[in-house]
Symmetry: C2
Subunit: 212 residues, 2 copies
């Protein structure tokens, strides 16, 4: 039986100097803190960057490092070990600061894998433009989970509610891609959005029409 | 074979006058809109309440009703059909307005089932105090999903990463309950938080110690 959470990999990067954390968490608000707490539970150390000193105790408690200041400053990113880290969690809530940081990381540390929090679709587009490949809209997954629970409360089975929400999400994320491709052309953007809405209706109508 | 999304239940409330929607969505920002779009995909009509007129086209497109104003006004809730609705999606982002609305719904429409979006733990406590039973922190589920993906990127299997995050969440939600019980006693609150952090470490350490 394999150990559930990694067994001998409990300290996953033994070959690496412990002073060089593999993960940088930029932005230590509601979002970055949860990611960091999961990492801590998994005994993965991280280096935190935040513009305020609010959360120092928590970060230090786990033996992690913390730097204060604007994460879009090159000297701060260097000090935080951006040259040797593998993963950059971009959890800054301010849209401009987030995009500036993404651009700087792309230009200066192209080897860093960026995981970004986006406020909304526009922010997601800007992050994509800055080369970020993993982007998650910050209230998106909670709102989908609530939607699923509401459907159950209205009588859908749990399995059906989750299947519908999964399909909705696939469609919505494909739409986001399609919108991104035409984002600088307002006419095409609106046409894509309309088309997507109509496709979604057809998609669910087709499901409803299936018979036993 | 059962129809995946409800078959003959495609219009789930045939017995109900169509003018009386069963779902009210208060707050039509990023969160409320996603819940509403899923409902629309499932052909469930809703009544929207929002303080601004930004999203009128979307709401009307699906043949839904919309009211503008402060959702914590009794006359507006009555006009929106709070007396006959079954479900109240409380997706207002402003914390004070959200809590005021929850209190009013509890006092005036105790039969309404409330599904609430919370900004953070403090907001969740206030909603719980106002009698709300389903509460979801707005950035919580997205941040957990990112954490899981980061663990995978660091080498965990997808199954292990998800199992760890699930366990983290169970523990975190139990902690929230425990903190709520002592929220007015700062000493006990801090002790509970410390104890929870130490329990979490033990929980994961125990998992890591499991052998084949």
């Amino acid at each position: 039986m394999q150990s559930r959470f990694g067994g001998e990999h409990a300290r996953p990067f033994d070959g690496i100097d412990e002073s060089e954390n593999r993960v940088i968490v930029a932005g230590f608000g509601r979002f970055g803190q949860i990611v960091a707490r999961v990492l801590s539970a998994r005994r993965i150390k991280f280096t935190a960057l935040d513009s305020s000193q609010t959360h120092v105790d928590f970060v230090r408690k786990f033996g992690n490092k913390v730097y204060y200041g604007d994460a879009s400053r090159l000297d701060l990113l260097r000090a935080a070990g951006a040259e040797t880290a593998a993963i950059f969690v971009l959890a800054i809530d301010d849209v401009d600061a987030s995009v500036r940081t993404a651009e700087l990381v792309r230009d200066q540390f192209p080897g860093l894998k960026v995981f970004a929090r986006a406020r909304n679709r526009q922010h997601a587009f800007a992050l994509k433009e800055a080369g970020v490949r993993y982007i998650i809209r910050e209230t998106y997954v909670s709102s989908l989970e609530m939607a699923s629970t509401v459907l159950e409360s209205l009588g859908d089975s749990s399995a059906n509610a989750r299947a519908l929400v999964r399909k909705f999400r696939q469609h919505d994320e494909a739409t986001l891609e399609a919108q991104y491709a035409v984002k600088d052309d307002e006419t095409k953007f609106l046409a894509t959005s309309r088309e997507a809405a109509s496709q979604l209706e057809q998609l669910f109508a087709a499901d409803e029409a299936k018979t036993d």
